[in-house]
């Protein structure tokens, strides 16, 4: 599910240590916190999974 989802990253404007994972799905733009490894680098696999989980939550919530 959501196989075509890809994300980019950006550092937060106000808290530069915080990294957002950014993606667009069906015309809606999303940002959720990226998952970092022990060295502070973005863990791409875990972050992609998180993006898909977040998207699933957003699309399936009733409120």
């Amino acid at each position: 599910m959501y196989d075509s989802l890809t994300f980019t990253t950006r550092n937060d404007d106000m808290e530069p240590d915080h990294i957002w994972a950014c993606f667009t799905w069906e015309g809606v733009y999303y940002e959720t916190g990226a998952i970092l490894d022990s060295e502070g680098a973005v863990n791409n696999e875990s972050t992609l999974t998180k993006c898909k989980n977040v998207l699933h939550f957003m699309l399936n919530r009733t409120v």
Binding site: D12, D13, M14, E15, H18, W20, G27, V28, Y29, Y30, E31, T32, G33, V54, F57, M58, R61, T62, V63
Partner: protein
């Protein structure tokens, strides 16, 4: 825009900041002008009192719309949930707020608050949703604190640590993850028929029921 912080300041400038029309008659004891510095009627005031005063603010108080409902959970158990706040979805009324101007945090204009609601999103879990009108910009504030006015119960949420951001329909939309009720970040009153929103809405609920607060029960403030 806040008034200047030094030098000459005119009554007309104060009047305009308070929402009046430039050049029209006014006096220093008018409630909207006094309101900029929270002065009571007839109080002694100095023009310097208005240095830095602003009609904009970073908070609003909320008369929540709410709906309390039950549903069947795992193993046939009765579960209790609610939607409560400003523009709460589900069957809840939309509620209202005290301040409908642009929220401003540290000189940065965020936009108007369109939604601040705590909603049932899963069995035993609720989420906080905040919508702000404006352009697509996930920035301008660091924390948001939601408070119940009557007992000062509050929770502070971090924009970066606690929210997922999305942009749709001209609104900056923030939502937390589904937070377990037992954490009591969003709910209070236990897990059964006393369960209610920690910040706003009826705190002595009847299940099921729907209504709107008669007074401003909650406050949401950005910093």
């Amino acid at each position: 825009m806040p008034l200047q912080t030094s030098g000459q300041i005119s009554l007309n400038e104060i009047h305009v900041e308070a929402g009046g029309t430039s050049g029209t008659a006014c006096n220093i004891n008018e409630s909207d002008i006094r309101g900029l510095i929270s002065a009571s009627s007839g109080a002694a005031m100095d023009f310097a009192d208005w240095y830095g005063a602003s009609s904009s603010q970073a908070f609003s108080t909320i008369k929540a719309g709410y709906s309390f409902f039950t549903f069947t959970g795992g193993r046939g158990s009765t579960q209790y949930g609610f939607n409560a706040g400003l523009d709460a979805d589900g069957s809840a009324p939309v509620g209202s707020q005290s301040y409908t101007g642009d929220l401003v945090v540290g000189g940065t204009t965020l936009g108007t608050l369109a939604r601040a609601s705590v909603d049932n999103v899963a069995q035993g879990r609720h989420a906080l949703a905040i919508h702000i009108t404006g352009t697509n910009s996930n920035s301008g504030w660091t924390n948001v604190t939601c408070t119940r006015i009557s007992n000062s119960a509050f929770t502070t949420f971090s924009r970066t640590a606690d929210f997922t951001y999305s942009y749709a329909d001209g609104k900056r939309q923030y939502i937390t993850a589904a937070i377990f009720d037992v954490a009591e970040s969003l709910t209070a009153g236990g897990s059964t028929s006393g369960k209610h929103c920690k910040f706003w809405g009826d705190d002595t609920p009847t299940y099921p029921s729907t209504g709107t607060d008669s007074t401003f029960t909650g406050k949401i403030e950005f910093s």
